[in-house]
Structures are given as structure tokens and as C-alpha cells.
């Protein structure tokens, strides 16, 4: 042994001893994952180290041990037999006439757009021989800039959902489309004399110029008919706030690239709402500590912790009703007047004072945004602060509204219900949405609906509303229909179909056409006619190709600023406040039957398949309730928690309680979209229906609630308890000041063993050497990468029961780490794919060579060789390998087969799988480049996670090219390896977080 090696070895051993001592006492700098870990509960600690508690019981039980051995014997005997299958003869089916642009085996990409709450996000959809399989963002579209959110990523599964409404029915009988047209003709003839007084149309928010023109055309024809709108994903409060501030409906558009100081008033602008993708990119671009002077500073006043709050440099948890007082205190602070009726404590006052000072130091370079569930007064106050700071025209621009007909939707719905109850409505067309489920409970929408003679519902699912309508019309999915829609800045996109309707669904344009002269017109004709496309359709073709119509963004609009500062929201009743939110995964329930979204761990709570009554740890303690990870009957992730009755305004809903670090005390957050009764196989029975206590006068939140323990317990599937860190430091974070003074401070405590201490062979890695850098400072934890990965790599959904056993299959997970006190911790997101170690512990333990090192440094996983020993997963320090325990993939449902990526194997049971850096994309790009006799360009290969990311937090590339983006990131001081002390030499590395802390407030 040479002396250098000996020295290094002794250093390594000494180092590990030091580490062992230093990791035991918990300091303020310690990161933690779960409340149990933070509380250092001894029972939990013990549980933590028993990685497979259920198996431990099985081994000590003599009977189970014997049957285990029997099964092992049988499976070894049968193991060889499965390989003895002869491949069956397969058919190969060519086209009769092959479409011109199509090359079989090569995907085509088409631009289209998806709307949520009326606002469009531009998309590029990958199509394999006419089957849409994967959705990416459209780089030319202002609302996407190439990124996507979870809903767009999961839309492919929504298209192929076998539970979709498949037939047009009238009171349960299957009828042809012509029968519906006939029924509408008859009803309209009767309405002709009444000028349509009995005709009502209920839509969601509408930004489609074509649809708005169609509806206005019908209203002109039947002047007494009415158009109502109700969209739970829409933004009544923002509209109300604009009206209070400017006397009219205007849209506020933000420019984060110009904002140095940002204040969020309970707004989750990074991951929800119009323009979130564009805003997240602008925001993240100003968080680069290399350019420390340009780092922005984000303050968040919020109730339920959100992704935006997690990114905030300073976060102040407040009850939802306190936000308004705090906003007034900011106004007072800026104007130098005394306003102390805000009901805030001295610590909060100090926070607000420092914030006001910081804001006024950045006039014209600051930005204030109010959250959608905050009342109109808060939105008005946000406008006031922006005006006071002179931000208009710099960081905020006011434009006309994206919606064609902005209105107070809750009042619109209330008026409709009143008319229905008064018997004034003869014909009601409900075009999209599910108002029976989503309408505020006090409106008693469904009882009123029964009084309407002719009710028709256009919907993707035969849902709660369809059930109460005579006519159920299956809706064409947006990937099946023609339409148009506006982005958050007004840019128009044409929505083009990728596939003919699978179930003969109708688009909203076609249903509206039945009210006109030419009821059988197709949506294609309607949209083209609206844009007056004649014989020469070169412009139209350009719009379809680009996915945007040029020069259709709204310009700035001159507004008259006349805020009604006297307007205040009434103080809520004392008692526990309940805050209602759209669910981060299933929204208002419209995505409740989408398995990808249901199984997606929600940001912050990391719950799957459920909603919960979310409270702070202190509130839970006061109620003498606490959830515990199950120690029997499953592995980590089965959280046994109290079932509570949430009493609110005379109504009760029963749900499971879950504590959230950083949640304000004495209030509860409940997410909508669960407790469906007719939502489909996956939606039904999951969670509880929070809409059943939500009233129309307090859609965002209300006071006077009570939480009572029922004594029952229920299980929640929370993946935050999986893959626990066991005291190891996974996140590096410092303040900007520390970083500027000494960039190396971020790597404190890091140790990288010398390269010679290893028994692994030294690989040359000529040619390409793939690597990835993930910037924790940019990651907003939005989950788009997780669903993007799932869609790209044919990853199955496993269900709540299996998640509770710790078997979720996501190849990429987003770990959430906390630091500091439980009432307001700092939060960090860390996406963890396979690290593709150079010294891979997984490879050496595989007995059948199913995982091996590629020449470019990937840890290849060969599914057809894998016999399922799971040694590799056992030996993986990052726990990124996923084992297909049961036959998780659906092999039978025909519609689901259409959506799979044909370039990735559909894995079966008993096989280990993991992230491959999207090797199918690497190979495709390499083949492409070699045919052109050139090298793969930097950025040519984008992994699915990288492509979906709105914050540009994930960068993939060739490490042998020193000028590649990833090489440059890895050269930064912030770059660190996860568990680098193990000398696994991971190819995926992380860039530490740097918080831009206000020195006045400190950490």
C-alpha cells in the first residue's frame, strides 16, 4: 500500500468518526423532513432504523418463515420455466394511403393549447402515428416558454381515461347527435316567442374569441336569454379587487425580471394562476447567486404553506383573515401613517416595518401580488401598494381582461339559481364544469336544477351534474377538438386536435352551434369562419405551426386609479378559520380521475390520493391529536391520523387531520376536489368533499369553525416519510451575505474522498459523458418534472394502498426538507432522480448483470435480464430504484395502450426500474447527429424533467464538453454531491440554495 493511499484511508476513517459525533446534537442548522424527526421521538427513531418492519415480523414468526421458504423453493423451481415462451406471430399493419408528412417510427409535434380557468398554456404534443403520447411546452408561447405544469403533463392520461363519458344519452338511453339537435330545435321554437326568456347557458370562464362570438350571437338572437359563468378555477376575487381599485375589470400582468423586491399576499404565483410558468422562469432567473447584486428578495405573507412561501426569503404565517390587516399595515408603513388596528403582534409589526422599508427602497422595482382566495379588498390593497411604489408600467402592466366576459361568477351563479327556483328557466345548457359538485352548498344548486324542464350537460365524464341532466353529451377532450384561447397576456392560440374524438365527443362550439342556423357545423368550420379564413390559408397554417397568433397580446391599458380604501372585508367570527383551496393536484376535482395526478405527492404536504384537514402542529396538539407513522402492517408512509368532524356554519364534514409545519395556528386548510361520488373509478371515495361546507359568501375562507375528534383513525399515504435522511445533510443552504463573503461557506462540512480510495475500475469515458446539475435554489417544487417523467417513461400508477407500503414508482421524487422551528421553518425542495454514479453500488451486487455501466457513464438497467433480487435497490444509498412488486401497469385497457411511449419498454412485475436520464432521447439525438456527421449539440438532448421545468432548475448535458451548460454549473462553488463522502461519484449533482435575507430581519 503506498503512503498516499494509507494517509487518505486514515483520513477517511477519522473523518467518519468526527461526522458520527457531530451529527448527534440537533442544532438550529439541522435539516429535517418530518415532524416526528424534528421532535426526536424515540419510538420514531427506532422505527426509522427498522427499514422493513413488516418483514421483520414475518421473519420472527415461525409459521410465516416456513411458508416463506416454501414459496422461495417453488419460485426458484419455476424461475426458469417463464423464459421458455416462444414469441407469438405478430401482425404488421401498414396504412392504405400514408399521410404525407408522416415517417413511420418518427414522432411528429403539433402545437396546441390547454386552458385552465379560461387561460391558455401553449403546448407541443408528440404524436406517434396519430396517437398523442407526450406533452411539452411550446417555446414560442408566452404562457409556456417551453415549460409545462402538472395538469398539461397529465392531460394525455386524461384523454385516454377509460372512465370518460362515451355515449350521448337522454335519460339513460343512447341517442344519436341528430336527436339532440332535434330536441334543441323543438325547445328553441318554443323559446322564439319568449325571445329566449327561458334559455340559459352556463359555461366556465371563456377566453375563446370564437366561443364568445358564438354565445353573443345566440344572445343577440334571443335577447332575453342569459349567459352565466361558474368556474371554481377562476378568479372572482382578483376581478373584484380590480373593480374596487379601478372601477372596471382589468388584468394585472407582472414582470418579475424587473422586480427586486416581491411581496406575496397569500399568492402562490409560482405554481398556480395565469402566467405561473412564465413568472416562475422570470423569478428563478433572478435567483442566481453568481450575480448576487441582481438577486431578488421575496416576502410571503401566507396561511397554508405553498411553493411560493417555500421559496420566500422571509415568510410570515398568518391566518387568512389577518392578511388584509397586514396589507393595510404595509400601506400605512409606506405612507408613514399609523395604522395599528391590524391585530398583529409586535414580531409581525417589526416584520412589516422592515418589509415596508425594503419596498420603499425599491420604488418602481418592486411588486405586490394578492392570492386568489384572498377577498377583493386584499387585491385592491395590492394594487394600492403597487401604485404607491410607482410599479405601474415597470413591474405591473394593466391590460384588458383575458376573459371575454368578466363577471362576478358567484353572483352569476346565484342569479341563475334564483331564476331556476323561480321557474323562469326552461332550457339550461351546462357547457363544461361540474356545478352540482362545485357550487357553494348554500346555493342548493342541484335542487334548483331539478326545476328546469330541459337540462343538457356537456362533460368529459358522466359526473354529479350529468346525473341530474336529461341530456348527457360526451365532451371532446382538448386534444380531440378545434378551438381557440387566449394566454395570460392575451395572445391567441388555435387549439388543434391531435386525434379524432375517441368517443364521438362534441366540442363546446358544436353544442353552441345547435342553437344557431346551421346546427351541424363542425368546430373546425366554426373556428375558421370566426377568423375569416378564406381559400388562402397561409396565415392560418402559420398560426397552427407556431401555436400562437402574432401580435395578439394585449397592450398596456390606461387605468383610472380610484381605490375605495374604505372597503373592508368583515372580520370573520371567532373560532377556527377554515380556508378553502383548489387542490394542487386535482384542482376543483376536474382531474380527480387522473391517476398520475392523484398519486402525485402534493407540494409541502406530500400526501397522495387524499385531501386532509390541514392544521398547524400547535393546533393539533391543542386538539390532542397527532398522526403517527404506522409501525405494523406496512412500511413507512402509512400515516395513521385522527378523523375529525369539521363543523362550520351548521354543516359538518368528516375528514382526516394532518399537521403541516409552517401552517398558522387556529385555522385549518381544506382542499377541494375530493369526496367525489360520480367522478370515475379513481376519483370516487378518495378524501372528503370540502365543497359540502363551503358557502357563497366566503368562498376563500370563513371563521367560526370547530374541529372535534371523532375517536376514529384513518390512514393517509404520505411519501414524506419514505426515504428518510437519517441525520445526513442532503441540502446546502446559506444566506446571500455568507455566500458573497465566502462562497465556500456553502460547502461547509463537505468531504470528498480522494479519487484513489476505490476498488472500482477507472473508466475512461471517451466521447460523451452525460451528467446533470439540479439547482435547489431555482426549484419551486411544482412537480411538473415528476409527471413529465411519468408520462415519458411509462411509469405505472399503484394506488393508495401500495403507496402506504412505500412502493410508489416515480423515478424522480421531490424531497422536501425543513430547517428551523416547526411553526415557520425554511423549506427546500430537492428533486432526486437516479444519480448515475460512476462508482455505482448497485451495479456490483446484481447477480445477473441486469444493471451495468455504459460507456457514457449511465447505469443501464436491463429489464429483460432482471430477476428481481432487489439487491441493487438495497445497496443504493439514494433509494432511487423502484421495484415493480405487483403487475402495476395496466396491460388490458385498450385506450391506455394508445398513450404509452413506444420508445420505452412497458415493464412487467418483478422487475427493478429506475431513471435512465431518458436514454431513449439520448439515443435518438445521437443517431440524428451521427447521420449528420456531427456531435450532439449542448441542449439538443433535454430529459423529460428538464424540459418540463418552468424554473430551469434541471440541466443535462455532456461533461466532456467544458463549454456545456452543465459543465459550467458543475464548476460553480455551489455544486455538491449528494452523500459525496461515500465516493459514489454521482453524475447528478446539486447546486446549493442561497437565501437573500434582509439583514434587518436576520434569519
Amino acid at each position: 500500500m503506498n503512503s498516499e493511499l494509507r494517509r487518505a484511508l486514515s483520513r477517511g476513517i477519522a473523518g467518519s468518526e468526527e461526522r458520527g459525533q457531530s451529527s448527534s446534537p440537533r442544532t438550529k442548522d439541522t435539516f429535517w423532513r418530518t415532524l416526528d424527526e424534528q421532535a426526536e421521538d424515540p419510538a420514531f427513531q427506532e422505527h426509522l432504523y427498522n427499514e422493513f418492519p413488516s418483514e421483520i415480523e414475518a421473519i420472527t414468526d415461525p409459521v410465516a418463515r416456513r411458508s416463506f421458504l416454501k414459496l422461495m423453493g417453488a419460485s426458484i423451481a419455476l424461475a426458469g420455466v417463464t423464459a421458455c415462451t416462444k414469441q407469438p406471430a405478430e401482425k404488421i399493419v401498414p396504412y392504405v394511403k400514408q399521410p404525407e408528412e408522416l415517417i413511420p417510427g418518427k414522432p411528429l409535434f403539433y402545437a396546441t393549447a390547454m386552458t385552465l380557468g379560461g387561460v391558455a398554456t401553449g403546448l407541443l404534443v408528440e404524436s406517434h402515428e396519430g396517437r398523442p403520447t407526450k406533452i411539452e411546452g411550446n417555446p414560442l408561447h408566452p404562457g409556456s416558454r417551453g415549460a409545462t405544469d402538472v395538469f398539461a403533463q397529465a392531460a394525455v392520461l386524461g384523454l385516454y381515461d377509460p372512465d370518460r363519458a362515451q355515449t350521448l344519452t337522454n335519460i339513460g338511453d343512447i341517442r344519436p347527435w341528430a336527436a339532440f339537435i332535434g330536441a334543441m330545435r323543438a325547445a328553441l321554437t318554443a323559446q322564439q316567442a319568449l325571445k329566449g326568456a327561458g334559455l340559459r347557458i352556463l359555461t366556465e370562464s371563456v377566453s375563446s374569441p370564437t366561443l364568445a362570438a358564438q354565445i353573443r350571437d345566440v344572445l343577440a338572437r334571443y335577447p332575453s336569454a342569459k349567459w352565466h359563468q361558474w368556474d371554481p378555477a377562476s378568479r372572482d376575487n382578483a376581478r373584484g379587487g380590480a373593480k374596487l381599485a379601478f372601477g372596471e375589470y382589468v388584468e394585472a400582468r407582472y414582470d418579475f425580471s424587473q422586480a427586486d423586491v416581491i411581496l406575496s399576499l397569500d399568492a402562490d404565483f409560482l405554481s398556480s394562476g395565469p402566467g405561473a410558468l412564465a413568472y416562475a422562469r422570470q423569478f428563478a432567473a433572478r435567483r442566481n447567486p453568481q450575480d448576487a447584486e441582481r438577486m431578488n428578495r421575496l416576502y410571503a405573507l401566507e396561511s397554508m404553506p405553498s411553493s411560493t412561501g417555500a421559496k420566500a426569503d422571509h415568510r410570515l404565517p398568518l391566518k387568512p383573515s389577518q392578511i388584509e390587516g397586514a396589507a393595510r399595515a404595509v400601506v400605512a408603513g409606506l405612507r408613514g401613517s399609523a395604522g395599528d388596528d391590524s391585530g398583529l403582534g409586535p414580531a409581525e409589526q417589526k416584520w412589516i416595518t422592515a418589509l415596508a422599508k425594503d419596498l420603499s427602497a425599491h420604488r418602481g422595482r418592486s411588486l405586490v401580488i394578492a392570492g386568489d382566495q384572498q377577498p377583493p379588498a386584499v387585491h385592491m390593497l395590492a394594487h394600492v401598494i403597487n401604485q404607491d411604489l410607482g410599479n405601474e408600467g415597470r413591474t405591473v402592466v394593466y391590460t384588458q381582461t383575458v376573459e371575454a366576459e368578466p363577471t362576478s361568477q358567484v353572483e352569476s351563479l346565484r342569479a341563475l339559481v334564483a331564476d331556476m327556483n323561480a321557474g323562469k328557466v326552461d332550457v339550461l345548457l351546462i357547457l363544461g364544469g361540474n356545478p352540482v359538485y362545485t357550487a357553494p352548498v348554500d346555493l342548493a344548486f342541484s335542487a334548483a336544477l331539478d326545476k328546469v324542464q330541459l337540462r343538457a350537460h356537456l362533460s368529459l365524464y358522466s359526473d354529479e351534474t350529468s346525473q341530474r341532466c336529461q341530456w348527457q353529451i360526451p365532451e371532446a377532450h382538448f386534444l380531440e377538438s378545434w378551438s381557440d384561447a387566449r394566454a395570460f397576456d392575451g395572445t391567441v392560440s388555435i387549439v388543434q386536435p391531435l386525434i379524432a374524438p375517441l368517443y364521438d365527443g362534441k366540442s363546446i362550439h358544436e353544442v353552441m352551434a345547435t342553437l344557431g342556423d346551421r346546427p351541424e357545423r363542425s368546430a373546425y368550420e366554426i373556428v375558421r369562419d370566426h377568423w375569416k379564413i378564406g381559400k388562402d390559408d397561409s396565415a392560418w397554417r402559420r398560426w397552427l405551426h407556431d401555436g400562437v397568433m402574432p401580435n395578439t397580446a394585449f397592450g398596456a391599458k390606461a387605468v383610472r386609479f380610484q381605490p375605495n380604501l374604505q372597503h373592508t372585508t368583515p372580520r370573520p367570527e371567532p373560532g377556527i378559520e377554515v380556508s378553502f383551496r383548489n387542490d394542487p393536484s386535482v384542482l376543483d376535482g376536474r382531474f380527480a380521475n387522473n391517476g398520475w395526478l392523484q398519486e402525485l405527492p402534493k407540494p409541502i404536504t406530500r400526501l397522495t390520493w387524499d385531501n386532509a384537514v390541514l392544521v398547524s402542529p400547535a393546533t393539533a396538539a391543542r386538539l390532542q391529536s397527532r398522526e403517527r407513522p404506522a409501525t405494523t402492517g406496512g412500511e413507512h408512509g402509512n400515516i395513521i391520523s385522527d378523523v375529525v368532524d369539521l363543523k362550520y356554519r351548521g354543516r359538518i364534514v368528516r375528514g382526516t387531520m394532518f399537521t403541516v409545519a409552517g401552517h398558522p395556528d387556529d385555522c385549518a386548510t381544506v382542499h377541494l376536489g375530493y369526496g367525489r361520488t360520480r367522478g370515475g373509478h379513481l376519483a370516487n371515495g378518495a378524501g372528503f368533499n370540502a365543497s359540502s361546507i363551503r358557502t357563497s359568501d366566503a368562498l376563500g375562507f370563513g371563521g367560526g369553525a370547530e374541529i372535534a375528534l371523532t375517536g376514529q383513525k384513518a390512514s393517509l399515504a404520505c411519501v414524506q416519510y419514505h426515504h428518510l435522511m437519517e441525520g445526513r445533510g442532503m441540502v446546502r443552504a446559506v444566506t446571500r451575505e455568507e455566500y458573497v463573503n465566502d462562497p465556500k461557506s456553502i460547502r461547509e462540512g463537505d468531504e470528498t474522498p480522494p479519487r484513489i480510495i476505490t476498488l472500482y475500475p477507472d473508466m475512461p469515458y471517451q466521447g460523451y459523458k452525460w451528467g446533470m446539475a439540479i439547482d435547489i435554489n431555482s426549484c419551486i417544487g411544482c412537480n411538473a418534472c415528476v409527471v413529465g417523467c411519468q408520462a415519458e417513461n411509462n411509469i405505472p400508477v399503484i394506488g393508495k394502498d401500495q403507496v402506504m407500503r412505500g412502493r410508489e414508482m416515480h423515478w424522480l421524487r421531490i424531497d422536501t426538507y425543513y430547517r428551523g422551528a416547526v411553526d415557520n421553518p425554511e423549506t427546500f425542495f430537492q428533486p432526486v432522480p437516479c444519480m448515475q454514479c460512476e462508482n455505482a453500488p448497485c451495479e456490483v451486487v446484481c447477480p445477473v448483470g441486469a444493471t451495468s455501466h455504459s460507456a457514457e457513464g449511465l447505469n443501464d438497467m436491463v429489464y429483460n435480464r432482471c430477476v428481481g433480487t432487489r439487491y441493487c435497490s438495497d445497496n443504493c444509498p439514494y433509494k432511487v430504484r423502484r421495484f415493480n412488486f405487483l403487475l402495476y401497469q395496466d396491460w388490458d385497457t385498450p385506450s391506455l395502450k394508445l398513450g404509452r411511449n413506444p420508445d420505452v419498454t412497458v415493464r412487467s412485475r418483478g422487475v427493478m426500474e429506475k431513471c435512465t436520464y431518458c436514454v431513449q432521447r439520448i439515443n435518438a439525438a445521437k443517431i440524428d447527429s451521427e447521420k449528420g456527421n456531427r456531435a450532439v449539440k449542448d441542449g439538443e438532448i433535454k430529459t423529460a424533467c428538464e424540459q418540463a421545468c418552468p424554473a430551469d432548475a434541471i440541466v443535462f448535458g455532456n461533461l466532456n464538453d467544458p463549454s456545456s451548460r452543465v459543465s459550467k454549473l458543475k464548476a460553480e462553488v455551489r455544486n455538491y454531491e449528494l452523500l459525496g463522502e461515500l465516493n459514489t461519484r454521482p453524475r447528478t449533482t446539486y447546486l446549493g440554495a442561497v437565501r437573500n435575507v434582509n439583514p434587518e430581519l436576520g434569519e
Binding site: K86, Q87, A89, E90, K91, I92, V93, P94, Y95, V96, K97, Q98, I103, P104, G105, K106, G767, S852, H853, S854, A855, E856, L858, D860, M861, V862, Y863, N864, D903, V904, T905, V906, T916, V919, Q920, N923, I927, E930, K931, N933
Partner: protein
């Protein structure tokens, strides 16, 4: 007490213990051979097809280039099976009344595809790309055999992994000039080794044997 076993039992025991080793080895060898045999791989077995299409007639007889029908072979992973329209380009004029071609006309009339039986069928976990192989100088006949002498199409080679790896490890044994890739009567020259090495250098052919080259 008399002996239970005759003296010969000793020999029998030795032989059977010794023989068992050979027996097991032989059995394994037999299994390996069965697995490589056309019975398992379907090599050199003509398949039943809806139309008795003859590559011999069309390629050798009429001199049609491979790419007239297999259009995407240079661009895509999949070489392409011609659409009915391609057949009808000629057969609306030639043999336009032949009862033999009725399935083709029927397909064209009704718009329903002809359902061929796949001859070259790799397992679902193998991702083969035609375009890169023909671009790197792997000729059609290198893998598919003398298609111009096949009245009914059959698979020339086993398509087993060892067969793939033979070329991936030693491409110089098989590559030919790009200009000759689609030639059906190309004969490898005497000095294939020398030519191969020259082409491997010229076309920058790599010896790709990482698992993820084909499996993913």
C-alpha cells in the same frame, strides 16, 4: 451377513456420478442448441401471408430498389411497410384484374389495411434503428439475406443477441461502402477485413456494446 449390493454396484455408482456431469452438461448444451434452432427463432421459415408477395419477382425480376417500398429506412428506426397505395401505383395498370391481387384492390377500395404477418420481429424490449445502420454501411442483405432470391419472405438470421453482438463487436467484418448498402448483389471483397477497418475509421463506426444501446 451377505452383501446387499453386488461388486458391480461400485462401478455403476462411479459411472453414474461421472456420467451425470456429462448428462447435465449435454442437456444444457441441447437446450442451448434448441434455443438457437429455427424452431425457436423462426429463422428460414416462410410465413403465411394474406398475399403471396414475392420479393424475388419484384427485386430480382423488376429491379425495384428496396427504398421504393421501405421508404423510411434511411430516416427512421422503422423501415416501413408500404401502404396499399404503393402497390396500386403499378397494379392499377399491371395485372389490374388478377384475382391474386384482389386483397390489394379490396384494401384500396374499402380503406382497410392489409394485415401482414411480421417476419422480422424483435422482442419488445429491443430498440433497433434501421436508419443508423444503413447510414453506417450495414447493407440490407447483411441482415436480411438474399431477399432477391426469396419468393416468400423469411428471416435469414436468428436475430438473437449473440448475432447482433457479433457485428457490434467486430463491425469491420460486415460493413460495406455506403454506396453499396442497397445493392442486393453486393459481394464482400476478399480483403473485407482491410476494407472494413478503413470504413470503420471513415464512417466513425463505434463498437457500441452498452446495454442501453438497444435496451431501455
Amino acid at each position: 451377513m451377505s452383501q446387499i449390493f453386488h461388486r458391480s454396484a461400485n462401478t455403476i455408482a462411479r459411472v453414474s456420478i461421472f456420467g451425470a456431469v456429462f448428462f447435465v452438461a449435454g442437456l444444457l448444451g441441447l437446450l442451448a442448441e434448441v434455443n438457437r434452432s429455427p424452431w425457436m427463432t423462426d429463422a428460414r421459415t416462410a410465413r403465411e401471408q394474406p398475399i403471396q408477395f414475392s420479393h424475388e419477382r419484384h427485386v430480382a425480376g423488376n429491379g425495384i430498389d428496396c427504398r421504393y417500398c421501405h421508404t423510411s429506412v434511411e430516416d427512421s428506426s422503422f423501415a416501413g411497410i408500404p401502404p396499399t397505395k404503393t402497390c396500386m401505383n403499378c397494379h392499377s395498370e399491371i395485372f389490374s384484374n388478377s384475382p391474386f391481387l384482389e386483397p390489394v384492390r379490396d384494401s384500396f377500395r374499402t380503406g382497410t389495411s392489409i394485415q401482414w404477418t411480421r417476419v422480422h420481429d424483435l422482442p419488445d424490449f429491443v430498440y433497433f434503428n434501421h436508419s443508423i445502420h444503413v447510414n453506417k454501411g450495414v447493407g440490407c442483405t447483411t441482415c436480411h439475406g438474399q431477399v432477391d432470391r426469396m419468393p416468400l419472405m423469411y428471416q435469414q438470421n436468428s436475430l438473437q443477441m449473440e448475432w447482433c453482438l457479433d457485428c457490434h463487436r467486430n463491425p469491420e467484418k460486415y460493413v460495406r461502402p455506403r454506396s453499396a448498402v442497397f445493392s442486393v448483389d453486393y459481394q464482400a471483397p476478399e480483403d473485407q477485413e482491410a476494407l472494413g477497418q478503413k470504413l470503420v475509421a471513415e464512417y466513425q463506426i463505434q463498437k457500441l456494446t452498452s446495454c442501453s444501446t438497444c435496451h431501455r
